[in-house]
Structures are given as C-alpha cells and as structure tokens.
C-alpha cells in the first residue's frame, strides 16, 4: 500500500526549532498542570487528615486519589512532549533525514514501533483522521478504514480496551483479522480516547511489548494524549501536522457521487471496496478518480 500524506520536507533549522518550541511549551504546560493537581491532592489529603469523621476522611481521600491520578497523567503528557522536542533537536542536526513523527515517541512509550491514533466525529464511529508512527501502523489503520472493522473502531464504539492476537484476530474480525495478519502483525490492541464521558477516538498499537496491553500505562498514555493534545484548549488535535484527513479520498467520493448519482457515503464505500479489492490504499484509488483515469460503477 502506498503511504498517505506524510510529512516529508527536508530538515530545516527553522521548522525543527518551531516544532521544538511548541513541544517544549506543551511540556511546560503539562508540568504546571501536574503541579497544580498535586497541590489539590495535597489539600484534599490535609482535609482528610483533619476530617472530623470517617466518612469525610474517605471522601477527601477519594478526591485526593483522583487529583493524584490526573497529576500523573499530565506528567506522562509532559514526557511525551519532551521526547518529541529532543527528537526534533536531534533531527535539526541531521540534514536529509525525514522529520520525526510525534507518534513515533508515542509508539515507543507503548513498547512498540507501530501505533496509530484515530479521531472520530460526534455522531459516527467512522474514522475522520489518522496519525501513524510508521508504515506498518499506517497500513494496518488503512485496512481498518477500508473494511470498517477493527480494534480502533471497537474501542471507540465500546469505550473500552480491545485486544486480539494470533487466531483470535480472524475470530473477532473476519475481514480485518486475516488481512492484518498478512501484514505480519500478530497482536493488536486499542484503548479509547475518552474524557468527561465523551469518546473522541482510539489509540491502537500493533505487536506491543509482551505484557504491555492490560497495564495502566496504556490507558494512561491514551488519557495523557487526550488531555494534553486532543481535548486541551492549547493542544493540537492535528498532532503536529501528522493527523491525516484523507482529503483526496473525500474529494474523490464527492466526484463519484456525481458520476453515479448516489449519496456521497455510498461513493466512499465504493472507493474503499475498490481499494481493498486491488490491494492498494484508498488514496491511490482516489488519485486515479481525481485524475480522470478511473471511473467507478
């Protein structure tokens, strides 16, 4: 499969510096939030210590616990930003190498080289943007997009962690399972990006480190990303320009909808089906449609 829109561009001092400053600022904001949550936790703990009754003490301790966990989550977010800032700093000194991806650091924090983050709209579990750490994650996520089934979608819809491995992949997802196995992936897992009772997408990992799935770290990384990047007033849901909207695919869907006089959603499904049948990406089918080289229907 061909890659979607990737961030290429040569290493320039300016681009790296700007990204680095932005990541450092986000790290500082996350650290300040963590410190603030710690102070609130300490205040609750002090109130618990002075609580006149046992029930009160328990209530204050529960509140403290929530603040501690949020503080920890902000620290995780700060570390991810620090990691990205140092990758950019390193890159600035190496001309000609591809620009580091934010998701690469996220994947490594999950003990793998392949991770993908998807975002959905309010009223549909259909993926609207995707950011991947590497080609393997990108290809796996493309399969999910083409087939309309897979771990990220399930984690988003069910709002709970999802995992499958080996033969379990095909059992859970009759289309996606065998296809993702063919990519050489043996285990997939995803956690929802959920905050305040709203789920905005999922973080999926492919062939994670043994024992990583099911740990608190996985959900914590997802929460850190949701709090610091996706649902933060000073965040960046585009993940430093890495989140891809599949613009050409949607343009082509619009075009096909006119050619076949069908709803645009049906046109999109036709493009996906064609891409899966040909074993290529939706983007490559879309490009041929847009260039007038291919008419569907």
């Amino acid at each position: 499969m061909t890659a979607g829109r990737t961030i290429c561009g040569m290493a320039t001092e300016g681009g790296a510096t700007q990204g680095k400053i932005s990541a450092e600022r986000k790290a500082a904001v996350a650290r300040a939030r963590s410190a603030h949550e710690t102070i609130r936790a300490e205040r609750c703990e002090a109130q618990a210590a002075e609580a006149p009754t046992e029930a009160l003490r328990a209530a204050h301790l529960r509140m403290a616990e929530l603040h501690r966990s949020t503080a920890h989550c902000h620290l995780t977010a700060a570390r991810l930003q620090d990691d990205y800032a140092s990758r950019l700093a390193l890159w600035a000194g190496q001309r000609g190498t591809p620009r580091p991806r934010f998701m690469t650091g996220v994947a490594e924090a999950c003990g793998t080289s392949s991770a993908a983050l998807t975002l959905v709209g309010a009223d549909s579990p259909d993926e609207l943007t995707v950011a991947a750490s590497d080609e393997s994650a990108r290809a796996a996520q493309e399969l999910e997009f083409l087939l309309g089934e897979g771990p990220a979608r399930d984690a988003t819809v069910e709002v709970r962690p999802v995992m499958a491995a080996g033969p379990g992949l095909a059992v859970r997802w009759p289309g996606y399972g065998p296809a993702v196995t063919e990519l050489g992936i043996d285990e997939v897992a995803a956690v929802p990006l959920s905050l305040a009772g709203v789920c905005v997408g999922a973080l999926a990992v492919f062939d994670p480190a043994p024992g990583f799935v099911g740990t608190d770290s996985f959900t914590e990384i997802a929460e850190a990303l949701t709090r610091s990047m996706i649902l933060s007033p000073d965040g960046d849901a585009g993940l430093y320009g890495a989140a891809e909207l599949r613009a050409k695919v949607h343009q082509a869907a619009g075009m096909v909808s006119v050619q076949l006089e069908c709803p645009v959603a049906d046109a999109l499904e036709l493009i996906k089906a064609r891409a899966f049948a040909e074993g290529v990406s939706a983007r490559s089918v879309a490009e041929r449609v847009l260039d007038g080289e291919l008419r569907l229907g």
Partner: protein, 246 residues
C-alpha cells in the same frame, strides 16, 4: 440537643453529593444543591440549611432549601444581595454563629433578619461554597432557639460544603471538556464535508478541485454563510452553484 451524626448517614450524604444529587443532569447543579441542603439539614441536628449558588456574575442565583418558606427566604436574600449567605459568598469567609435577635444581625441584614426571626430561627451561620479558586455560594445554617450553633457542626457543615464545591468544580471542568470535544467533532466533520463538496462541484461543473473550492468560498462569502453549511448543501445536492455563480 443534637444527635450525634450517624456515620452511615454521612456516608450516604457524600455518595449523593458526589453523584451530583439524585437525578440531576450532568451539568445541572440543582440536584447537588438540593442534596447539600437536605443533608445539611438532616445531619446538623436541629439546624435548617439553605444553599445559594451563583455560577458566574451574569447567571441568576440558584437556591435550595428544605421547605418552601426557606426557599423563599434564600431567593429573596439573593435578590436583595443581603444576608449571611451573601456575605460569605462575597467575602469568601465563613460568617460565624450570629444571634439573629442581636444588634449586629439587624444592622448588617435589615431585611433578612426579621424574616428569619419570623420563621422561628434564633441563630445563623454561613459557610462559603468554594468552587476551585472561587467562592460561588454558601451553605447557611439556621438554628431554632437561642443556643449557639456548635463549632463541630460548623466544621462538619464546611466539610460537606467543600465536598459539594469540589463536585461542582469537577462538573465545570467536565462541561468545558465536553464542549471542546463537540467543537473538535464538528470541525473535523466540516473539513471532511468541504473536501467532499470540492469533488462534487468539480465533477458537476467540470472544473478542477481547486477551482471548485474557489467557487465554494466565493459563494459562502457573497451570501455571508458558513463554508461548511454551503458545502453540506452541495454534497446533499440541495444547492447547485451553476445557476448562482457570482
């Protein structure tokens, strides 16, 4: 005099407070305020409790109390901007146990005091309702008779109010997060629809995708409409820019 506070009752109070009252909407504090007033009254022996909450300067005061008379008193106090609850809310400090028959009460709360006395209350104290860094309301405790409100009761009342304030603060943050999630979802959906509209228009008018985008933008601008709305109508075949090009 006052029964010792039952642990079980207190535990239930906190569960209710943390749940935002019994049946309230996620961002509607009414249930929480009612729970605070009810539990304040139930827990604090002979006291009656009223709650006032003013989420921001532009919002109307929300009140809760046990009994219609007290609700009316709390509402009037909020309208007058007078009384121990208003004082605690304004200053952020507790109003200590005060004798309603005394000089100070009559002087500081000329309208509130006679009404409270009329309802049979002799003592009053108010505890600030702190929500995050702000004081946005108060729990007012009213005692019958002339015996002072005991310090342990005020301490307990403050703890109860703190838990309610913490819950309100949390709810406020959650609402802000939900609003961000809505905005993000809408923004992403709009961008997808705009791309679809570019392709739709390009095919319909046999122009390039870039030219289609230019036409979409020009139409939105000249009709003072949002680009995403125009795009949606194009995609749903409800708007044909062919006949209305400008």
């Amino acid at each position: 005099m006052t029964n010792p506070v039952s642990q079980q009752r207190l535990a239930k109070a906190f569960v209710d407070l943390a749940a935002g009252g019994e049946s309230s909407e996620p961002s509607d504090p009414t249930g929480l305020l009612e729970a605070l007033a009810t539990h304040g009254t139930a827990l604090l022996g002979d006291c009656a409790a009223t709650v006032v909450y003013v989420p921001d300067d532009h919002a109307a005061a929300q009140v809760a109390a046990t009994g219609a008379d007290l609700v009316r008193l709390a509402r009037d106090a909020a309208a007058w901007g007078e009384g121990p609850g208003q004082q605690a809310r304004r200053t952020g400090h507790p109003v200590p146990d005060t004798e309603l028959g005394g000089e100070r009460a009559r002087r500081d709360w000329p309208r509130y005091t006679p009404r409270a006395l009329e309802l049979g209350y002799g003592r009053v104290a108010a505890l600030p309702l702190r929500v995050g860094a702000d004081t946005l309301g108060a729990l007012v405790l009213l005692g019958r008779g002339s015996a002072a409100l005991r310090p342990e009761l005020l301490e307990l009342g403050q703890s109860l109010t703190d838990v309610a304030g913490w819950t309100l603060d949390r709810e406020r943050r959650l609402s802000a997060t939900r609003a961000l999630a809505d905005q993000l979802g809408e923004a992403l959906t709009s961008r997808v629809i705009i791309e679809q509209a570019k392709g739709t228009l390009a095919a319909r008018l046999s122009v390039t995708v870039d030219e289609a985008f230019r036409l979409l933008r020009a139409h939105a601008r000249s009709h003072r409409r949002r680009l995403s709305e125009v795009a949606r109508e194009v995609v749903e075949h409800r708007l044909d820019l062919r006949s209305r090009q400008q």
